[in-house]
C-alpha cells in the first residue's frame, strides 16, 4: 500500500457522500468556468487587438438611424484617415431563419484595407480581390461559415432579408481565413446591392468604419468629425471600435457584475457545502484519527493526510467540471457562433481553467483545514473514547 492508496481508500469510505460532493463540485466548477469564459469572451469584443486604429462613425441618435454616404468625402479628406468603409448590417438568413449569421452590405472597394487583419489580407491574392470587385452580385465569406454550410467558391448563396425587403442571390467569390474564428462567421456583399434593391437606403449607411494612420490621432479626429457634423440633420457620434462594440455589450445589461455576483455566490455555496461535508466526515473519524496517532502517526502527518483527501476530492471535482465545461464550450461555439460571431471564439481559456483549479483547491484546503486541525489537536485518549 502506498500513501496515495491510503488517501484514495479513505476518500471512498462513504461512496454516496463522495459522489454527491464531487457532483456538486463538478457543477460549481462547470458554472464558474463557463461564466468566467463568457465574461472573457465579452471582454474580447471590446478588446480586439486590431481595433486600436479604427473608428466607427454613426448617427448620434442611435445605431438604427442612418447617415448620408456623402459624409465619406469629408472623412476621406482628413489627413489622419487611411480608409473609410460604409457598412450596413443586413440581417439576412440562408434557407432557414434559424441558420442565422452575420452578413453585411459593405463598400467593396475599401473593406479589405479597413479590416485587413480580420480578412487575413496577406493570404488573399490580388486576383481574388479583383474577382470579387468584378462581380456586383459577388460575396466574400469566412472559412468557418463556408465549412459549416458546405460552400465553395462559385456557389450561389440566396439570402432572405429580415430587415430589408430584398432576397439577394450572391455568388461566393472569395473564402477568407482569419486568425480568430469569430471573424470567419461573416458574409460581406457589395453595398450597391442594398442601395439598388432598397430605394430608401440609396445614399445612406448605418455606419462608417474609418481606419487611421496612427492610433494617437484618434482623439483629435473624433472631436473634429463630430464638431463638423454638429447641428446638421445627421449629427454624428464618432467613437473607437472598442467603445462602439461596448455599446452592444451594454445592451445586455451589466453582465460583468451579474457574472461576478453569481461566481461569488457559487464559490461561497460550495465552500459551505464542502466545509460541512468534510467537517462531518472528519468528526466521524475521531476514533480512527486517534488510533493513527497512537500507532505513531504525528499530528502533522495525519493533518497532511486529511488535507490531501480534501484536495484530491476537490481536484477530482474541478477536473471533471473543467472537462464538462470544455465540452460545453464546443457546443456553444457550434450552436451560437454563427448567430453571435463572438461566440465562435468561446473557449475555456487556460487562465480560466487555472483560476478554477486554484479556486477549487483553495476551497478544498479551507474547508478541510479547520476540522482536520481540530481533530488532530484533540487528545488521543479523548479520540479513543469516541469509539462506539
Amino acid at each position: 500500500m502506498r500513501w496515495l492508496a491510503l488517501i484514495w481508500k479513505s476518500l471512498l469510505r462513504s461512496r454516496r457522500r463522495t459522489l454527491l460532493i464531487v457532483g456538486s463540485l463538478v457543477l460549481s466548477v462547470f458554472t464558474v468556468a463557463v461564466l468566467q469564459s463568457l465574461l472573457t469572451t465579452l471582454d474580447s469584443i471590446t478588446n480586439n487587438p486590431n481595433s486600436g486604429s479604427r473608428l466607427a462613425v454613426r448617427h448620434k441618435s442611435g445605431i438604427t438611424q442612418m447617415l448620408p454616404r456623402s459624409y465619406e468625402t469629408f472623412l476621406r479628406q482628413q489627413p489622419e484617415v487611411e480608409t473609410v468603409c460604409s457598412l450596413q448590417w443586413f440581417g439576412g438568413y440562408y434557407q432557414d431563419p434559424r441558420n442565422f449569421f452575420a452578413n453585411f452590405a459593405s463598400d467593396e472597394t475599401t473593406i479589405f484595407q479597413t479590416f485587413r487583419e480580420e480578412f487575413g489580407l496577406a493570404n488573399i491574392t490580388e486576383a481574388q480581390v479583383k474577382e470579387y470587385l468584378r462581380d456586383g452580385a459577388g460575396c466574400i465569406v469566412g472559412e468557418s461559415l463556408a465549412l459549416k454550410n458546405g460552400w465553395k467558391v462559385g456557389d450561389v448563396v440566396p439570402l432572405t432579408g429580415t430587415i430589408f425587403p430584398i432576397n439577394p442571390r450572391l455568388t461566393i467569390r472569395l473564402i477568407f481565413k482569419s486568425s480568430r474564428p469569430s471573424d470567419e462567421n461573416v458574409l460581406h456583399f457589395h453595398y450597391k446591392v442594398l442601395e439598388e434593391g432598397v430605394p430608401r437606403m440609396k445614399g445612406l449607411t448605418g455606419a462608417f468604419w474609418v481606419r487611421v494612420h496612427r492610433p494617437e490621432d484618434i482623439p483629435r479626429l473624433i472631436e473634429r468629425v463630430d464638431r463638423h457634423f454638429a447641428n446638421s440633420a445627421y449629427e454624428t457620434l464618432t467613437e473607437t471600435e472598442s467603445a462602439f462594440n461596448l455599446a452592444f455589450v451594454k445592451m445586455l445589461g451589466n453582465i460583468s457584475a451579474i457574472i461576478q455576483g453569481i461566481t461569488i455566490a457559487v464559490v461561497l455555496a460550495i465552500l459551505i457545502v464542502t466545509a460541512n461535508t468534510m467537517g462531518t466526515a472528519i468528526r466521524e473519524r475521531g476514533a480512527e484519527i486517534a488510533v493513527f496517532r497512537a500507532m505513531g502517526f504525528s499530528a502533522s502527518r495525519v493533518l497532511s493526510l486529511l488535507l490531501a483527501e480534501g484536495v484530491l476530492l476537490v481536484g477530482l471535482g474541478a477536473a471533471l467540471g473543467l472537462l464538462l465545461a470544455q465540452a460545453a464550450a464546443g457546443g456553444v461555439r457550434s450552436a451560437m457562433g454563427a448567430v453571435m460571431p463572438f461566440f465562435a471564439d468561446f473557449e475555456i481559456a487556460s487562465a480560466t481553467a487555472l483560476l478554477c483549479l486554484a479556486g477549487a483547491l483553495a476551497v478544498g484546503l479551507l474547508s478541510t483545514f479547520i476540522p482536520a486541525y481540530a481533530a488532530t489537536r484533540r487528545p488521543i485518549t479523548e479520540g479513543l473514547r469516541s469509539v462506539g
Binding site: K9, E288, V291, S298
Partner: protein, 240 residues
C-alpha cells in the same frame, strides 16, 4: 513494602514510574485520577491492571503507552524519559516501542486486513517488498493468511482482534498495551486471543500490559496489579 511500590520479580525494568500523578480539571475543579504511583515492570512481564471503574487503570495504561502525559512524576519506558519527548518525538517513540490492542479492535474499515497490518510500517524506512514480507509473516503468526484480503466487515470479532494484534506487533515493539482486549469477544474467541497474547509474551518476549475487568482474562497474565481510587492497591502473582 510501600503500598504504591511493587516488585514484580527480577529482571531489568522496561517501565519505571516514579511518583506518577494524573489529574483532570473541570473548570477550576481538580479531579485526581492517579496519585503517587511508583512501579517497575520488568522486561518480558505480562501484567494485568485491574480495579473498579474510575480506579485509574486505563489512565495508567495510557501514560505507559505514551498517549497521555502525567501531571506529576517521571515515567521511563524502554529507556526513554517520556516527559522529555515532545509530541512528534513521542509519536515516533510509540511507533517503534509500543503496540496497541483495543477493545473494539479499531481497524480501518476501508482497508483490508493486510493493509491494516501494514499501516504502522508506512512510518518506517522499510521498502514495499520488505513491508509485504513482514505483514505476511505476522498474519501467518496470528493464523490469518487466508483472510488477508478481507475487509474488517468480512471478519468475525475474534479475527478482527487477531488482525489488530498483528498490527500491534508488526513493528516488533517492546511493549504491547491492551485495553480490555477481550471485552467485545465471546468466551471462545477471548480464550483464543488471550492464548495468542500469552504466546507473544512467552515465545517472543513481549512485555504486555493489559487492562481488564475479567478475572479469567487477568488469569492469563503473570502478575495482576489492582488499583483503587488512583493508587496501587496490591499486586498478585498468578499461580497456574
Amino acid at each position: 513494602m510501600n503500598a504504591n511500590r511493587f516488585d514484580l520479580g527480577g529482571g531489568e525494568p522496561i517501565i519505571t514510574l516514579r511518583g506518577i500523578a494524573k489529574s483532570y480539571w473541570r473548570e477550576a475543579l481538580e479531579i485526581p485520577v492517579l496519585q503517587g504511583i511508583d512501579l517497575e515492570i520488568p522486561v518480558g512481564s505480562f501484567v494485568a491492571l485491574m480495579g473498579p471503574s474510575g480506579s485509574g487503570k486505563t489512565t495508567l495504561l495510557n501514560l505507559v503507552a505514551g498517549i497521555d502525559r502525567p501531571t506529576g512524576g517521571t515515567l521511563e519506558v524502554c529507556g526513554h524519559e517520556l516527559n522529555d519527548l515532545d509530541d512528534d518525538e513521542l509519536a515516533a517513540w510509540r511507533n517503534t516501542h509500543v503496540g496497541f490492542i483495543f477493545q473494539n479492535y479499531n481497524l480501518v474499515p476501508v482497508l483490508t486486513a493486510f493493509e491494516n497490518v501494514e499501516l504502522p510500517l508506512l512510518l518506517t524506512s522499510l521498502g514495499r517488498r520488505a513491508r509485504r514480507e513482514r505483514v505476511a509473516e505476522v498474519l501467518a503468526l496470528v493464523n490469518l493468511t487466508d483472510k488477508q484480503w478481507n475487509y474488517p466487515r468480512q471478519l468475525s470479532g475474534g479475527q478482527e482482534q487477531r488482525v489488530a494484534i498483528a498490527r500491534a506487533i508488526v513493528t516488533d515493539p517492546d511493549i504491547l498495551v491492551a485495553d480490555e482486549p477481550t471485552g467485545a469477544l465471546d468466551a471462545k474467541n477471548a480464550e483464543e486471543v488471550l492464548g495468542l497474547m500469552g504466546r507473544l509474551n512467552a515465545d517472543m518476549g513481549k512485555t504486555i500490559v493489559m487492562v481488564t475487568h475479567d478475572p479469567k482474562a487477568a488469569h492469563h497474565a503473570r502478575h495482576q496489579i489492582h488499583l483503587e481510587k488512583g493508587v496501587l492497591d496490591r499486586a498478585v502473582e498468578v499461580n497456574r
